[in-house]
Amino acid sequence: MDISKKQTAILQKFAPYIERFDARSFVWIFLLSLVILVGLYALIQQIVEGHVVTGMRDNVVWGLYIVNFIFFIGISYGGAILAGMLHLFKVPWRRPIMRIAVLTAFISALIGPIFIILCIGRFDRLHYLLIHARLQSPIFWDVVAISTYLIGAILFMYLLMIKDFAIYRDSDVLNLPPWRRNLYRALSLNYQGTESQNKQLAISKNLIALIMIPMVVVVSSVLSWIFGMTLRPGWHSTIFGPYFVLAAIYSGAAVIVIMMWIFRRAYKLKDYLTDKHFAYMGYILLSLGAGYGYFTFSEYLTSWFGSERWDSEVMEKLFNPAEYGWWFLISNIFSIIIPIVVVAFKKLRTPNLISLAALLLVFGMWVKRYLIVVPTLETPLLPIQDTRPEYIHYSATWVEWALSFAGLATFILFFIVMAKLVTIVTVSDYTEKER
């Protein structure tokens, strides 16, 4: 197919990054693999000894694993819905961001569900979820939601890559080994850029982008209902659906900003990911942050003001500095106040500061998920009358931490690998007529 001059220039720029692994990526891959290996060792411990090696016990039955699950799957939902919107609304500045967004969605969608499997006492019986499925269980809804979503996310990412695969296949700028050419040939599905192919592809892309938006709303609401459907203070809340949807988009947007920053530095992409792009993403963060802050405020205000007995007990734990008070404060400052302030003031609205704010935001959101899961489980309706400290307070063990960091390492590792396979900006989007 025809590759324009502009696209050739872009390919030339990216050639060193996708042609081979340089020493720096090898160091990274090595370090990340070490982290993952430690995680695997922890996993073996957990399989051999059982879940006693975790900090979870009869009161706090869900811990870091569920926190990480909501965290990663939320990031994925966020990446997907943002990519869908940017694509559908033909946002002019989307070109260098789309690829990062769909990769974020795809990779975290692979990692999130792993944590569910880690949390399940009998993952040897995982297939029971299908053969003995029970429609009225929110977990079943989530199984359906996540698998549907995963297919959608993969399709979405793939459709957005087909043109690029054809370009890599046909380009003579790239010096690729034959197996990679063959791979691209297979992946490009014989796309030649003919009129009818173009039209079909455009329609499919629009369609899947359109589907992704309501799908993300549905699937992240389903996720929230795992909590919302229980009779537990701090969970049994009607606001949880939209709250989770918004939190997911918010954390997804922040991760996209972080990845933009990393690639801009690592690949020297200042001409592609300009200050403008960061500012625009910053505006998105600002509006989402305001919405998220509003939800947070109304959720806790109503619980605190109404001060029903059980609600108050959870609130007390969240507000008390001796329990979760500091974390509650940090989570709200990091994930609401700092991003809004950084983006609101022109002086602070620099790529570095926005990315730093995004990093803090993502951390704050992780803490927030912890504060949703653990304090509620530590506050059952009947008093815990036990003397074993691990039955009263949850504290994650090294096994859970090792596996959590392994999850993070896998995320980065997959990103490095994917960034070798495809260019981090969508080459085919840079046509002559646009800009």
Binding site: I47, V48, E49, G50, H51, V52, T54, M56, R57, D58, N59, V61, W62, C119, I120, G121, R122, F123, R125, L126, Y128, L129, H132, A133, R134, Q136, S137, P138, I139, F140, V143, I226, M229, T230, L231, R232, L377, P380, L381, L382, P383, I384, Q385, D386, T387, R388
Partner: protein
Amino acid sequence: MSELSENGRRDFLKKGALGVSLAAWGQLIFSCSSGEGGEAAAEASDTVKLLTPDGELVEVDKKHLKHIHKVEKISQQEARAGIPGKKFVMVIDLARCNNARKCISACQAMHHLPSEKEWVTVKLMKDSKDGAPYWFPKTCFHCDNPPCVKVCPVNATYKRQDGLVLIDSERCIGCKFCMTACPYSTRTFNWGEELDIPADTETHPHNPETSVPSRPGTVEKCDFCPDMVRMGKLPDCVTACPNGVFYFGDQNEDVVTNGSETVRFSQLIKDRSGYRYMEDLGTEPRVWYLPPRDRIFPVERGYESLPDEVKERYKNVGLDG
């Protein structure tokens, strides 16, 4: 009343026995764990006489006796359907409980549970700062609108027509969703791969009605002892309680008994203002409570003689002063 009680009781037993004769009452089967009987028997305070298979009469320390389930083999279908025509119900008389904790140990012995695992717990409750403290024994409530059952993704925990909520440990995937859904902290989880249970229970045919043997990575809880009921007996916690706190019976027949006294369920609830715990949650428990009015023990009685470790648990209520 007493005449009615006698009749009611006989009626309950007859129907509850399901074909097993009244002799079943004495049928608790003991086996002597061999070998180590010798030295302990010398200082035994609590002994029983037993007839060995070769006709010899021996006296053994109760400590060396071990309950063995005598279960008729129940099919999975039967275990899921429930005992036809029954609607089991429990009434717990808070006025009689002095935290003797015999229900706990009996239930643990019957289900081969480690000492920390309590399917029936006795909480020390105080509903408000200036309210009166009271002992609160709690089994699974076998709710009629059970949140735990609603959330189970694989139908491992289920509601039967006789009112029981049971768990099939061969089906449970250990997602623990039911544990977060149960508002009464009823369910326990087998956290370790190595369970602290006697190896011989492994050979016991697994059945949701006996909840034995335990399976690692799955959820367990009080099962209302339907295996005992099928033999025409009362659940172990009921018979073990020295104060007759637990009444167990069939709501269809409107009869409950604590082993020594048999009464009309509806009358008991009416006379003693029975209530269900946290009725406002809409879970419709099958366990009723009789308020701790005219108590036969001062509440401290259940506290003073406790080992320190157990005393420590009740610190949040603070009977110490």
